[in-house]
Amino acid sequence: MTASSDIGIKSFGAYIPRRRMPRAVIAAAHAWALPALKSLAKGEKSFCGWDEDAITMAVEAGRDCLRGANDSAAIVGLRFASTTAPYADLQNAAIVGAALRLAESRSSADLSGSVRAGLSALGQSLEESAGGDQLVIASDRRSGKPGSTQELLYGSGAAALRIGRGDDVIATFLGRESVVVPFIDHFRQSGEKFDYHWEERWVRDEGISKIVPRTVASLLRRLGIDVARVAHFALAGGPAGSDKLVAKALSIGPERVLPDLQAQVGDTGAAHPLLQLTAALERAAAGDIVVVASFSQGCEVLAFQVRQSASNPPNRGLQATLGRRIEESAYLKMLSFEGEIDIEWGMRAETDNKTALTQLYRIADQILGFVGGKCQSCEAVQFPRFPACVNCGAVDSQQPYPLAEESAKVATYTADWLQYSPSPPLYMGLVQFDNGARLLMEIVDVGQSGVEVDTPLTMNFRIKERDRQRHYDRYFWKAAPI
């Protein structure tokens, strides 16, 4: 029933921050005041390092989606969906696209306003008739107020999907259904940090149970698909367990309900339905029907039919990023990363990190895209690009040379306990790329095993420094053990 002219998903990527905190640790920290939180103390949640936000996670998911593709210049549009985008006026998608080295001539948009933004962005891209591939990325760095159930149940993550037409489509878009009602299960005013939630029983019984099944049924009816053919179903949004409730109401067996990711990640907001869709694509067989719904001020539902099972290498996608895990047991560390406690870091934290925006624009491809140079005289690959080659001194001899996906290892390192870092110690050292390039980099996500000379490294787009006076975060790339 699908044809190669139909639009669909061509590739997908996911990113879950490596840091995972057992919910029991959070519950234990609040046990003196809120012993009932113990009932939620199962599994673990992902949380961002101090230097991660919705932009950096979006870049990582986007890279995962585009890895191995040599035609990212063919992407004509980028939609970035998030309820936690760092900037209110400065298009977040512009930074994400620059870090992904997308063509400058492209459409670009931020979508926000609700956790529904993720699936809406995907739906809009799929319905857009303009030619060329689109990239859709949803990313949320979700925070819950200390002691709230959201603190335990929210997680952080991002998912990316490449949309287009052609023989390389792996899942064809079948249709979309959207219902919008002023049902306010939770809200957060602009500028506020935390969501406010209404009673779960009302959300479940009066909201989800009445709105979602009818929306899904309406879409399936319109598409002429019997619910028995739905092989994978997911619902994002609402209290935990809502997906199973809706599946039961629709007569979709529990084995066909996609993982809600609560055990390992938590609710990732706008990113969640897209992450669940990637989970479906990772497990689906050719011909499978996938239905993904998002609940928020009504309901958004998208349906797909898998054309070919995904053949991602094992180091990609949701399962891979779930497996890259560092367990954290210091609750105060998470609070500090979230900005909920302000530790006395000493005078070194007083450094003024004002960014020269003039300078940033001049070398934006180097800083955001991590594009170095390759000397046409002596072939030395290098970063940054100075006017003269670091090796042979030839002037104006370098061609742009992207480094983000290149393999590298530790040449020298130390763990710096003196320099200010929001996550001490500051690991740093000379990073040696196999292609010959070398530069001094911060090394992040160092686990218990530490690093040594020759430890293999991967590159990560991160916040380099925060300007706490003017509120501009400086982004650059950091190395991490693979």
Partner: protein, 399 residues
């Protein structure tokens, strides 16, 4: 072919303040304190100074430009310049003054270096910006973090177990504490046990607190002239400058794979140039004493190889064998070094020359070495792979 400045410039007076936490002393007083000693030592008057070079690395400590020096010393109507080249700043001041004399531009010149670090509020050095370009990508590591990476490179290259190198660098600091006890102008004048050194809190792995030098206030200066004028002033047994060499990073070490992390190329460059200028061919045998840039213990260790005093991969054994102790083959940091004399950045290069100057004249008191002929001083600014090195050699005239 340049002939160099060997024996073309004599040092006729030097001054150095006590280094340390000089809470009750401002920069202008430190400058005057060092200058007064040097003028008295030279036996000249202030108005005989024809030009001055002022080294100060931190704008936050003493201020921008050469005006703070001209004002503090009331140097009227003469050229006064400020130079800055990170930790090589003091030697840069001496280089400016010495070159002016050697060129015949002035008869008598002053080189002054000073830093008032304890007015910054920091333990250790303040974090400095790197300029609008590097700020966008280069991590802000602390100074110890820059040098600590030498340990990783050195260990890896020579397959040295972590604990063995830790002990060797601890021994570097132990020796300097032994020496500092005998120096009344030193910041830290207390011997320290090896166990204390090895178990101190970590600053930048593997460097603990005792692997890091003192952060001090202080000033040091030199008055230089030609040997002819020195003799006309009645000076005998002249101490002359044999060489001053400098090398700055072009980026090759941090920008290519050509550096293995176990040495400092700038030191090798500057040492080779200085040895050439001074006519030194066998440094381990010819140099009477070393004052090297022991900002961190690992720096001193690899510097012994970079200066050609130890063979490659052997410095850590030489250290443990006491080769650089006060009674060793090549005494190093006989005045306590940066480690214990202290490190007011702009003053350090001149402080090192001050110690050689005293030693060469037999005026070093309890720490006097026997019959020294040549002394080498060495500064490293920045970090091992991205910095600047100055090497100067002074000695008895005609040596």
């Amino acid at each position: 072919m340049a002939s160099g400045i060997k024996d073309k410039v004599a040092i006729i007076g030097m001054g150095c303040t006590r280094f340390g936490e000089r809470w009750d002393t401002g920069a202008e007083q430190l400058l005057m304190e060092a200058f007064t000693e040097a003028l008295g030592d030279a036996g000249i008057e202030r108005k005989q100074i024809g030009a001055a070079w002022y080294g100060s690395a931190m704008e936050r400590s003493v201020g921008n430009s050469a005006i703070p020096l001209a004002t503090a010393l009331r140097l009227e109507g003469i050229p006064v310049s400020r130079v800055e080249n990170m930790c090589a700043t003091g030697t840069e001041a001496l280089r400016g003054a010495a070159y002016a004399v050697a060129a015949g531009a002035v008869d008598i010149a002053l080189a002054m270096g000073a830093e008032k670090l304890k007015d910054t509020g920091y333990g250790g050095l303040p974090t400095l910006g790197k300029g609008s370009f590097a700020d966008l990508w280069m991590p802000y590591g602390s100074a110890p973090a820059g040098f600590a990476q030498l340990a990783a490179g050195y260990r890896s290259k020579y397959k040295i177990p972590k604990q063995d190198l830790k002990k060797a660098i601890g021994r570097v600091s132990w020796k300097s504490h032994q020496n500092g006890v005998k120096n009344p102008k030193a910041h830290l004048r207390k011997a320290v046990e090896m166990d204390t050194i090895l178990n101190a809190p970590m600053i930048a792995e593997p460097l603990g607190v005792f692997d890091c030098c003192g952060v001090s206030d202080g000033a040091a200066c030199a008055i230089v002239t030609t040997p002819e004028i020195a003799r006309a002033l009645g000076k005998k047994s002249l101490v002359t400058i044999k060489a001053i060499a400098l090398s700055a990073s072009s980026g090759r070490e941090w920008g290519t794979s050509q550096w293995d992390g176990s040495y400092v190329q700038n030191t090798r460059n500057a040492a080779a140039a200085a040895y050439r200028e001074a006519g030194v061919t066998h440094p381990r045998e010819e140099l009477s004493a070393l004052e090297v840039h022991d900002c961190f213990s690992i720096t001193e260790l690899v510097t012994m190889e970079d200066l050609g005093v130890s063979d490659a991969g052997n410095a850590w054994k030489d250290v443990l064998d006491g080769v650089f102790d006060a009674d060793g083959v090549v005494p190093c940091q006989i005045d306590g070094g940066l480690k214990c004399f202290g490190h007011p950045i702009g003053a350090s290069g001149l402080r090192m020359v001050y110690e050689h100057y005293l030693q060469l004249q037999g005026r070093a008191g309890a720490r006097q070495l026997k019959d020294p002929q040549l002394g080498l001083s060495h500064n490293l600014g920045g970090v091992p792979y991205n910095g600047v090195c100055a090497v100067s050699i002074v000695g008895v005239e005609g040596r």
